[in-house]
C-alpha cells in the first residue's frame, strides 16, 4: 500500500471514496498514476457492518450538522438530516441498494425534449447516450450488473413477487428483479447474494458492489493508491495563476495537514462538494472556486421520491432478501399526457421495524399509525424514484451562522418541490397503490420522501461555462486541474438511480485525466 508524502505535488488528490472518488482512484492507479484519496470518515470493513438499522446508521451515516429550508417535508421532520448518505470509506456505495440503470436517451437532453418548463432550469447534457454507452458497458462489467454481460438476474423475493403479481394484473410489461450490482453468482472474487435483507446497512456477504472492497483494494494493490481515512478536506488551495496546488485537511487527531497535488478531484457528494468549493473562496475567487458562473450549489436535485406500503390479509415478510431487487419500468418513459414530464421507476423497498417506525409517517402517532406497524409481517413496499426538475433556487449554500467543529460554515440545503415533481409523485402514489390493490391489499399507505439518498446537480455539467460548473469531462470550466467526480456534476437527474452513471463518468474521466496529464495539459 502506498504512503505518499504531503509535499508530493505529482499526485492526484481525490476528496471522497464513494462511487465517484473510489472508482476514479482505482482507474487512475491502474494506469500508473499516483493517487491519494482523502476520506472524511472511518474505515469500516465488511466484518464491521451490523444488521441493525440504528446501530448501522450510527456507524456509517453522515451525521455532521447540516441545516435545511424550503417546502419539502424533510426540512420539517429532519431539519438537520437532509440526506441519508455515508461518511466512511466506500462512501454511499456501502449503503446503496445496488440498482444500476442507464439513463434513457431523452434524459441527456431534457431541455430539448421537455421544452421550457416554467421555474425549471433544465439544460441538455453536453453528452449523449451514444457518448456514454461504451462507458456504461465498462461500468456494468466492473460492477457485475445483473441482466448485463450474461449475468443472470437475482431471484425475486416475496416483496418482489407481490409487486410483480400486481404489475402483471395491471398490464405492466417491463417487470423484473432489476439491473443490480449484486452478484447473482460468484464473480470477481466475491460471493453471491445470500438474501440477507440489510443492503442499506453494508452488505455482510460482499455480494453488492461497493468501492470499499472492490475498487479501493484493487487500487491499493497497484502501489499507486493511498486512502487516508478520517481526513476531512476543508479547503482547496491555488496559486497566483489560479491553478489548484493542493488541499488542507483535518486529520484524525484534528490537526491541519496540507497535501500538495497536481490535480484535485472533488467527490464528496452533492452537499459537501459544493460546500468545499464555496468554503475555498479566496481573494482571487471570492465567490468560491470554479464559481464564475454562480452555479456552484444551485440546481440541487434529489429525485421525486415516495414510497407506497401495502398491507395484505396474509404474510409477505418484505424484509427477507435483497431490498431493491424488483422493478416496474413502464412509467419511466417521458409521456407528458400523464400530466408531467419525465418518468419514474417503481422499485421494491423494505425497512425494518425501527426505521419503518421512524420513516413511515414521520411525527405520526396514535392507532392509525401503530395499526400499520402491527401488520408489519403482512406488508409489502415499493419506492418511487423519478426525475425532478432542477431549479436554481434549490440550492446548497454556506449556513450564515452554524459552523462545524473546525469552525467552517455547514451546508444549508434549500429545496422546494416543483409542480412537476408534485404531479409525478401523485401519479406514483396512485399507480403504486393500484399495483397492490390489484392483488388484494387491504390498506395502502403513502409515505413521504425519506432524507435524500440521491443528491445531484450542485456542480452541474454544461457546454457553456456560463451555464454550469464543469465541462463534459467533469473538469471545472474555471480551473483546468480541478475536477468534480460525483453526482453533483449531473446536468439533470434522470428518473433512475444515479450510481451506474456516476461510475461510468468516473471511468471516462480517468481516461481524460490520464490523457491530459500525459500531454502535460494539467
Amino acid at each position: 500500500m502506498a504512503n505518499f508524502d504531503l509535499n508530493d505535488d505529482s499526485l492526484v488528490v481525490i476528496v471522497g471514496s464513494g462511487a465517484g472518488g473510489g472508482t476514479l482512484g482505482n482507474e487512475l492507479a491502474q494506469k500508473g498514476i499516483k493517487v491519494v484519496i482523502l476520506e472524511a470518515g472511518d474505515r469500516n470493513e465488511i466484518q464491521d457492518f451490523v444488521n441493525d438499522e440504528w446501530e448501522s446508521f450510527a456507524q456509517l451515516a453522515w451525521k455532521d450538522m447540516r441545516t435545511t429550508s424550503g417546502d419539502w417535508r424533510v426540512a420539517h421532520d429532519f431539519p438537520n438530516l437532509p440526506a441519508w448518505i455515508v461518511k466512511s470509506v466506500g462512501g454511499t456505495t456501502t449503503h446503496w441498494a445496488g440498482a444500476s440503470l442507464r439513463f434513457h436517451e431523452h434524459e441527456f437532453k431534457t431541455r430539448s425534449v421537455y421544452g421550457n418548463i416554467q421555474g425549471a432550469s433544465l439544460l441538455d447534457w453536453p453528452l449523449t447516450l451514444a457518448d456514454m454507452e461504451p462507458w456504461y458497458d465498462r461500468a456494468e462489467k466492473k460492477m457485475g450488473v445483473t441482466g448485463t454481460n450474461g449475468i443472470p438476474r437475482l431471484p425475486g423475493n416475496n416483496n418482489f413477487r407481490v409487486m410483480q403479481a400486481g404489475a402483471q394484473k395491471l398490464g405492466y410489461k417491463e417487470v423484473h428483479t432489476g439491473n443490480m450490482a449484486i452478484n447473482s453468482q460468484p464473480r470477481d472474487g466475491r460471493g453471491s447474494c445470500q438474501q440477507i435483507g440489510f443492503c442499506f446497512q453494508g452488505c455482510k456477504s460482499g455480494a453488492k458492489w461497493s468501492t470499499l472492497y472492490t475498487e479501493i483494494p484493487k487500487g491499493e494493490d497497484t502501489g499507486n493508491l493511498e486512502v487516508r481515512p478520517n481526513a476531512m478536506v476543508v479547503k482547496i488551495e491555488h496559486d497566483a495563476s489560479g491553478k489548484v496546488t493542493g488541499v488542507l485537511y483535518m486529520d484524525e487527531k484534528g490537526a491541519t495537514q496540507r497535501q500538495k497535488a497536481r490535480v484535485v478531484a472533488v467527490a464528496g457528494n452533492s452537499l459537501e462538494s459544493p460546500r468545499l468549493l464555496l468554503n475555498s473562496a479566496s481573494s482571487k475567487f471570492p465567490d468560491g472556486l470554479a464559481n464564475s458562473s454562480g452555479q456552484v450549489g444551485r440546481n440541487y436535485m434529489r429525485h421525486t421520491t415516495a414510497s407506497v406500503y401495502a398491507v395484505f390479509e396474509k404474510p409477505v415478510h418484505m424484509y427477507r432478501g435483497t431490498t431493491m431487487a424488483g422493478i416496474i419500468r413502464d412509467e419511466s418513459r417521458n409521456d407528458p399526457k400523464r400530466g408531467f414530464v419525465g418518468g419514474y421507476e417503481m422499485e421494491t423497498i423494505s425497512l425494518g421495524i425501527p426505521f419503518l417506525a421512524a420513516f413511515l409517517d414521520p411525527g405520526a402517532w396514535g392507532r392509525s399509525f401503530t395499526s400499520a406497524l402491527d401488520d408489519y409481517s403482512n406488508m409489502a413496499g415499493m419506492w418511487i424514484i423519478g426525475e425532478d426538475m432542477p431549479q436554481p433556487g434549490n440550492r446548497v449554500t454556506l449556513d450564515k451562522t452554524v459552523k462545524d467543529k473546525f469552525g467552517l460554515p455547514v451546508a444549508s440545503v434549500h429545496f422546494d418541490d416543483h409542480p412537476n415533481d408534485v404531479a409525478m409523485r401523485q401519479h406514483g402514489f396512485q399507480q403504486g397503490a393500484a399495483v397492490y390493490d390489484a392483488v388484494g391489499a387491504t390498506r395502502t399507505i403513502q409515505t413521504t420522501p425519506y432524507p435524500s439518498t440521491h443528491n445531484l446537480g450542485t456542480n452541474r455539467m454544461s457546454e457553456k461555462p456560463a451555464d454550469g460548473v464543469v465541462n463534459r469531462w467533469g473538469q471545472t470550466h474555471d480551473i483546468r486541474n480541478l475536477f468534480v467526480s460525483d453526482g453533483s456534476q449531473f446536468t439533470t437527474g434522470a428518473g433512475c438511480n444515479p450510481t451506474l452513471t456516476i461510475v461510468a463518468l468516473a471511468i471516462r474521466q480517468a481516461d481524460y485525466i490520464a490523457g491530459q496529464m500525459g500531454q502535460k495539459a494539467i
Binding site: D52, Q164, G321
Partner: protein, 183 residues
C-alpha cells in the same frame, strides 16, 4: 411460508440496546401488574417522581398503542428519559412540567389525573391538545426510537432482525410466499 414464533418469554433479564436503562430487573418484574405510581418500576425511577414515571408510561402507550406489546417495553422505553433526566436538569423540568400540565388538563376536563382517565379516547383528546408542545414532541420523538429499537420486541411484530449469522434468508423463506394469484 415460514412463519415466526411471536411469543416471547419476558424474564428478569430482558436486554435492550440503544437505551441502557437502569431500572432494576426486580422492579421490572412488576410490569404488567398495572401502570401505577406504586409499581416497583415507578418507585425505582432515578430522577422522576414515581407518579410522573407512571404517567409517562401511560402516555407512551397512548401515543404508540400496541395491544400485543406488554407494559414492560413501554417502561423500558420511558426509563431512557428517566436516565437522561438524572443528569439533565432541563430535561427533568420539561418532563415534570409536562406531566403537571397534562394532569392539570385532565382535572379540568375529566376531574381526575391523566393516569386515572379511564377512556383511551379521552386521554387521546388530552394528548392531541398538547401535541405541538416541546414536551410532547420530546416524548414522541424519543419513544419512536426507544420503544421500537428493542430487539426483543421485533418478533412480536413479525420482524426477525439480524439475519447474516443465519445465512440470510436464502434458505429461510426469502421467496416462500404461497398465496399470490398465478402469474
Amino acid at each position: 411460508m415460514r412463519e415466526i414464533e411471536r411469543r416471547t418469554t419476558v424474564g428478569r433479564r430482558v436486554f435492550m440496546r440503544g437505551a441502557a436503562t437502569a431500572v432494576p430487573a426486580a422492579a421490572l418484574a412488576s410490569a404488567g401488574m398495572g401502570i401505577t405510581a406504586e409499581a416497583a418500576w415507578a418507585q425505582a425511577a432515578k430522577a422522576l417522581q414515581p407518579g410522573s414515571m407512571a404517567t409517562l408510561v401511560r402516555m407512551s402507550r397512548d401515543t404508540y398503542p400496541h395491544d400485543h406489546i406488554p407494559d414492560v417495553y413501554y417502561v423500558r422505553a420511558v426509563s431512557t428519559f428517566d436516565d437522561k433526566a438524572s443528569s439533565d436538569a432541563d430535561l427533568k423540568k420539561l418532563l415534570e412540567d409536562g406531566v403537571a400540565r397534562l394532569d392539570g388538563d385532565a382535572k379540568t376536563h375529566f376531574k381526575t389525573s391523566y393516569l386515572e382517565v379511564p377512556a383511551e379516547a379521552d386521554r387521546i383528546s388530552l394528548l392531541t391538545a398538547i401535541a405541538q408542545t416541546p414536551f410532547f414532541s420530546k416524548i414522541r420523538s424519543g419513544l419512536v426510537v426507544s420503544l421500537y429499537n428493542q430487539p426483543d420486541i421485533w418478533k412480536r411484530f413479525g420482524y426477525e432482525g439480524s439475519s447474516y449469522e443465519y445465512g440470510g434468508y436464502l434458505n429461510r423463506g426469502f421467496n416462500d410466499i404461497d398465496w399470490l394469484p398465478a402469474v
